[in-house]
Symmetry: D3
């Protein structure tokens, strides 16, 4: 597993801000608190947590075109940002959050595999910081965050399970999985895709167990970053 680094307060305006690195993958995550909710929640006394994801055009080996210039987000981008939002919502009690929205912006400054898992893991820290701020200001009485959430990729490369794949490993993997785990053992989301080869039940379990090991390291890094 690659070195994990979480630097809080990377930018000054956001209610929560984190630069998270999984090896050479670096994602800037900000949490923005908005005192309004999406239309389908108005007047219900509940909050919402959502995410947006983007890669800078030259985060990758060769420059990709800018989505804002093309005028639309790719399917990959939308799939990832939906996953990030869902993962964070799995550990938030929306009633305790109150009628406000927290938007997690995950912008990949440099990519080397695992950008979605770094985004989820960093987003939890940014969210934690933003909620701490809301609680310190007295806007929220009870902590709406029910636990930690982290994510890690793992795959099978030439028959061997590998944790936290970098770009080269990811390109060569026969199976590619992303697990979003909640501290304590529960699964928030499991996605495992066969690439070259398919895998079986045993393979899925081995990947899941590997992911648990990886997430434990991330939970520790998250705890250190938020100071508890």
């Amino acid at each position: 597993m690659r070195a994990i680094d979480i630097q809080t307060g990377f930018t000054k305006h956001a209610e929560g801000s984190v630069l998270i690195s999984f090896g050479d993958t670096r994602v800037l995550v900000t949490a923005s608190v908005e005192e309004k909710v999406p239309p389908f929640l108005r007047g219900k006394g509940e909050g919402w947590v959502t995410a947006e994801y983007s890669m800078l055009p030259r985060a990758t080996h060769t420059r990709g075109s800018r989505e804002a210039a093309k005028g639309k987000q790719s399917g990959r981008t939308q799939e990832i940002q939906r996953l990030i939002g869902r993962s964070l919502r799995a550990v938030v009690d929306m009633k305790k959050l109150g009628e406000r929205q927290i938007v997690l912006d995950c912008d990949v400054l440099q990519a080397d595999g695992g950008t979605r898992t770094a985004s989820i893991s960093g987003a939890w820290v940014a969210l934690r910081l933003a909620v701490d701020k809301l609680m310190a200001e007295g806007k929220i009485k009870e902590d709406p965050i029910t636990g930690r959430v982290a994510a890690i990729s793992c795959g099978i490369c030439q028959g061997t399970p590998v944790l936290d794949l970098d770009y080269i490993e990811d390109s060569a993997a026969d199976a590619d999985a992303n697990f979003v785990l909640i501290e304590g053992g529960k699964i928030a989301e499991a996605q495992a895709t066969a690439e070259g080869a398919t895998y079986d039940e045993e393979g899925l379990l081995r990947l899941l167990r590997l992911a648990r090991i990886g997430c434990d390291s991330i939970f520790a890094a998250q705890a250190k970053a938020v100071g508890r």
Copy 2:
């Protein structure tokens, strides 16, 4: 598990055409053969299989807005069509297919849960029919399809695992999973999402085993539909 029905030849123009029903969910799938490939494959002697997905505006309980009128496909639509394409590619040998593309259009006429799994299961039949036609015409020498692929949803509703969730069950499920399985036991894709509650390793395995039972029924229905 709901009744599965596969009606081949539902429309006349497509190289393969299927109306598949999982209970009240009905999807029209057509396979279109195009003698060209996407730019990234040109001149490599390999083929491609891709999919597009859409719901008719009134396939659902209340009318949804038409994506063509809004001018963009939702994240959900893109996520699903990417999954369908990936699932079918898991059982196709692109070299044997030759430099041509097969597009699987999955249009949901009526929705009652499981539209993506019905789409994948029906798309395999449409693909099989289109490839049979190409082989009968002598355009393909060796069968590029390496096996059957089917998909089924399953979930945990009030603690009980349920197979092939309809809309009401899906809305109430604590966890919602979709498995794409290959005949013989391998997994092409597993996606399991916690909704209200999260789940653990044991829960994931129970869902997977349930999915195997469901997919066996689908494999049988596919075999009957294509006559072998």
Copy 3:
């Protein structure tokens, strides 16, 4: 003239649902009742009837690109859906409908000429069913539908007038007309376009008279479909 078939209740969610066939042309039409009106009608106590039209990508001989994927509706699509809406509004008393909107979605499952005329003819049945439902529920007191409306194409092929052109006839026609007629003899809309050759007043009248014959068959089929 080709065989006309109208199958009601083809899908279960919509307030009115019809699968109409003109020969090999098959269109699924649903009528959706919405208890709101477009902004320009709000608070006026009047209703609205509108239509959307689309062809499934492989409804035709060769696959067309999906409008939702391209991000815009073609001029042809917009022209047709405007015509369908206008045709239906010609037989609806908007005051009696009350402040609600009925949307007619016409999705062409298979195309072989005459998709817009089949859409209009089928949309009347779907509208009739939806209004019957509103009346049965007591939401509407007086019937807002003032008569039947049907549409048929006709053209001049090598000097001979032809009714209800299929795709091959349509491609070869020197003139191509669509008439939207109201039971009893009135014209809601007439559109006649010269293709290869132009036509004269006599030609226009012959086409119109032919259209009357065709619409009489459709009125009969509509009556049978709605049971009166």
Copy 4:
């Protein structure tokens, strides 16, 4: 019928340029010759004639939003520009035009009813001027224009047929028709729509005969404008 005025050479860059007025309706039409054809015609030795239509935002009583700012053309705009193109193509021999395209841009500077009919009538003059220029330069040997085409609106207002409706008459009309006629008596396109009331065969014929009278005046104005 309102006064018709055709001013040629209104702008200097276009191969053909016309400011046409039907009463207070004023449309600037330019014909641009491009030495290329749309993809579907490449290499066939045939030309193409097409049209684009737009209203300036404040051509009308109240300002409409600019289509370029909204990011899409309305259905009405697309319907009209398709009609203009079709009407002009009815009098052009594409083989004689040779592999080039003429684009007719119809921009409404001021609107008072009849903008599409003024556009078609003016576009013929701009096209004639552009073709004359191509012939004078020796790029075209034989005249590809087979005749004159003109268009006029007519309607039934309170039972009385009216020719060339202005905005107020158009708003009040029970039926609204547009005829595109070719000098000599043939019809290129007829479109008649019932608004408040429907109309019958006799009404359609009366409108057509009225349109003939109007188009004769336009043909005379076109002849004078192009000097023959």
Copy 5:
């Protein structure tokens, strides 16, 4: 400097309407009064002045594609319309205007260099006419217009400063500047861009002094056009 011509009342619907010519450059400017303001100003008792700019496709030597058809405005278009709006707002007291918006539509009918400066200079006249109308109707008590604003381009061609560049001069210029000046000597906006060669402080001053001469002519033409 090229001949300046300002023709008021060119179209009849707009509250202010001007056809302004700088040589062969001709721009139709309309001022539309709307009794509402953009969201960020609602309820503040202040007005707003904004502009939209467009070139007709064949205003130029070769036909450009229509922005409405392409579905977006170019960067150049947006840059120019932002400049026009800013320039006009420099001479309007928004409190005196009251909670209403004036939209200046600048549509270039023919282009020969200087379309943005002609647009600004003409827009002031259209704005003046629209405000005069509001004052005559008693809707505005005190004149919100604090002075005249005009704009002119100038450049350095082969070492020689040139005023009001036409298209050929503009293409050949080493430096290209646009000045927006307020009668009495103040500068609203200065933009000077090096093209082939760069320029120095002395060059900038010479261009500015030249612009003053040009704007004095425009101020005189504006005064004549509005009758004072």
Copy 6:
């Protein structure tokens, strides 16, 4: 003037990469070399330099919406990226660059006024690094960069000229100018806009002289960053 900091090699994939800070404004600039040119330059043996600009949604005090999600770039974004590209091209000899393109991506991580001037100043360093790499690889023989370019904002706040305005100063400024200067004294671009008050010739000169002082500091920082 605020502290300037230029950190090279901030990301690893790009041919040139810089994190530039003007006080709290921080922009990540990457230079990407592409061995192709835009269509209008193909086959001419000349290169091109262009730029794209974006602000991360939470670079600012309150979160702005993501342009990729909205589906279009704002006028402000387009105006700025056009300015950056123009400024860099002022110091590049396109023949010496050869038929390749360098794209400068300027992504604002944190904004506190002066994002466009920091972008230009940082883009020169990223460009220099990318060109150095091309020269070291022997792909370019002669240095195509003809000099240094830097940019700084300045304004008049309550009568006092201020250099390198931060967000609060910028909001309060009566006039707001951006100067793009070339080492040695020439001006590449000058843009000065009156906000509350207008300014005169003397004011413009004072701003320009102030800008010279600021750019001298930036030139020194650029020299230090690239090691010469």
